[in-house]
Symmetry: C2
């Protein structure tokens, strides 16, 4: 748009913006929360036990004990994470908590006993470090920041993290003890790591050493939005091949399958790692909520049943993603005011503004009653160097709300660009 | 018994012991697990929601969020712990985990922000310390040992810990940052702290300073075995009076009320402490399992309903405690071979052998197929200085199993004494 046309267009947009402000909207596109209609899909969890609390091994789910989880849940999680039950622990309602417990435990108490505590490797004035492919999941980064683990951003492209960069960093710095990954439908950019990238991940342990951990948060393993979804290579199988299974920690949960916040979380690695983690957790708990694990197994049954349920989720989610993409294409397509991805699964769409405009767009939206994830959130220390990333989460609002929110968003992107 | 009579009696007991060994018993009196009949009392938890997941404030229990717990659960826990809802957090299935999270958080991250981290107060080569009234709960002590917090045993009598000793230790050592207490029906000796002791506890903060914490694990608050049960003074009210509310952390759970390991845990303190703890936990979790909280509230309703349920538990537990006491009295009464308490509530009976015989009795029992908590477990570092404490947990076995186990126990106590 030439400068001569910009002024009237700006005034037009400002008028629209003020009209929207008068509506006093209160819309929230911040977090990947399932919609109520998605939660309804799992209401049969309540009452499903029908007085039968006996687990597959005869254990009474109602009593104490069983830190590794009930056998049928371990088998289910093994199928879900593509490994064997002996390499799986099933825990409580939060995979984030399991990741925190793992990283905090490794940091202070060791990945395999006190001698392997990361904190012991840092000399005076030194800090342990994590690689953080960015943009990424804000809560991963918060864990590192809280624990005083220094974060090093790693560039991503459509195949996953830049593995040349990852390998070079690991070769040069023995204080790097981990890397955060959401390898499938990555939060927030929807990337699925390519087979070649996963194969290189499976060999990182040879560079980084015995105490290095890949935190492979496979949060969206079965959360497809397309037919014939992309396949993520099996890092557990590959790392076994390369003798690096100890370096890989795979995490999943049913939070976006059954009831968010009332599901079950699981973690897989080598059997020795799982046993060591169980010893660590044994100090703080007599075991996870086995009744809720049993409830989930009675409902989810097996991978076929789970995939049928995920199709029902998709039927609710897909129109919302399509609506967001329609607004972006119709409102911004061809204007050169930003770019976005079209994810094949997961919970997010990443929008990139023109350089240095993300915070401005978020602020403008907030002023019009549309809450977005704060600019910068998807980067370590909340510092997006280009200030362009905005994470859109279409799942929770209704289609009508989303329609209204996206009108505002598209308008604010253009307005911010004209104000530049 | 004179020496001349001892030899034939010893032979008689040995014969009995061998006869028992031939039976190949497999009995377990180790842990305070509820019996199956107790667990059955709460089976209405499953199915109780009947499609209604709406909390008192309109929140959908099935979605993410709400780190402090749902409002009705906070109010219930406040009634249970005798305080106000704003001073309560309701969490997941494990009060032990909440205690670990609190102590670990205070140690590394501070009771109220990083500046107050206990670890910062320890100079080079120094360690933070906890007072441990002993005998006490083994899992409290494991937390300290794991975190590298030095434990100082404190003498107990029938009124609670020796407060002269506690106060003197605190005056002399600013590195003492906490004390573990089970103030009612103490694990394992059944003691209920007297009003005078609780009143002195409520003033400890004035000696010990702002970062000191009393870990008041009120695990058996409503777990009576008698009519007109003893009353524990309200430490939260008293500490408010003395301006030391920040120093007190009160913990409870429904583990021995509904389903052990699948209940809900809660913690109470000053509102500022609860908020700080919520911030700490917010790094690792998006919130507790609110569906299970709601389920519990629909079933437990209020303190009257809870007390009616506890009477049903008592009806199951009391005969078991009476059976243990009957065996002790009939088998050992007047023989001077040991002493024991008669608890008015809780889950344990503490037996004291003659000096230096506890480990021997535990070993003899194991040899006859009766598993007891390892000798020493009830002391910091598992070191019972007199080697006399044995914790008996009558709740889980059936009356028939308990009858058999106690015959073995009584026999082994006498046999160990004769072998001395």
């Amino acid at each position: 748009m030439s400068t001569s046309n910009a002024q009237p267009r700006r005034q037009e947009l400002l008028n629209q913006y003020q009209q929207i402000q008068a509506k006093k909207l209160n819309l929230d596109v911040t977090r990947g929360k399932p919609a109520t209609s998605q939660l309804n899909l799992s209401d049969s969890l309540d009452g499903i036990l029908a007085g039968n609390y006996k687990c597959a091994d005869g254990t009474d789910a109602r009593n104490y004990g069983g830190g590794l989880g009930i056998p049928e849940a371990r088998q289910f999680a093994a199928d879900y994470l593509e490994t064997t039950a002996a390499r799986v622990m099933v825990g409580g309602n939060s995979s984030l908590q399991m990741m925190y417990q793992y990283v905090q435990g490794a940091f202070q108490h060791g990945v395999r006993g006190a001698d392997s505590a990361w904190v012991r490797e840092a000399g005076s004035g030194q800090r342990i470090k994590f690689l953080c492919p960015a943009p990424g999941y804000d809560r991963h980064f918060s864990i590192c920041e809280y624990l005083g683990i220094e974060m090093i951003p790693v560039t991503m492209d459509e195949s996953g993290p830049d593995m040349n960069q990852v390998e070079a960093l690991l070769r040069n710095d023995p204080l790097i003890k981990g890397i955060w990954c959401v390898p499938k439908y990555a939060n927030p950019n929807g990337v699925v790591y390519s087979a070649a990238v996963v194969e290189r991940f499976a060999q990182l342990g040879k560079i980084a050493g015995a105490n290095f951990r890949i935190m492979w948060d496979n949060a969206y393993a079965e959360h497809h939005l397309v037919d014939n979804p992309p396949v993520l290579a099996n890092i557990l199988a590959l790392s076994e091949k390369y003798g690096t299974l100890d370096n890989v920690i795979v995490i999943g949960s049913t939070s976006k399958i059954t009831h968010a916040g009332a599901g079950i979380a699981f973690i897989a690695s080598s059997e020795a790692n799982i046993q060591a983690f169980n010893d660590h957790l044994g100090i703080q708990s007599i075991g996870p909520d086995k009744v809720n694990q049993l409830r989930h197994m009675r409902m989810l049954k097996d991978m076929d049943a789970l995939r049928a349920l995920m199709q029902q989720h998709r039927a609710i989610l897909q129109p919302k993603f399509e609506l967001v993409l329609k607004h972006l294409e119709q409102g911004l397509g061809g204007k050169g005011l930003g770019s976005w991805n079209k994810p094949a699964g997961g919970y997010f769409i990443l929008f990139d503004t023109l350089p240095d405009q993300a915070d401005k767009v978020v602020k403008l939206c907030a002023g019009a009653g549309v809450k977005l994830t704060p600019a910068g959130s998807t980067w370590p220390y909340k510092k997006d160097p280009a200030n362009t990333n905005i994470r859109l989460a279409p799942s929770f609002p209704s289609l009508a709300e989303l329609d209204e929110a996206m009108q505002v968003f598209v308008l604010c992107v253009e307005l911010a660009a004209l104000d530049q």
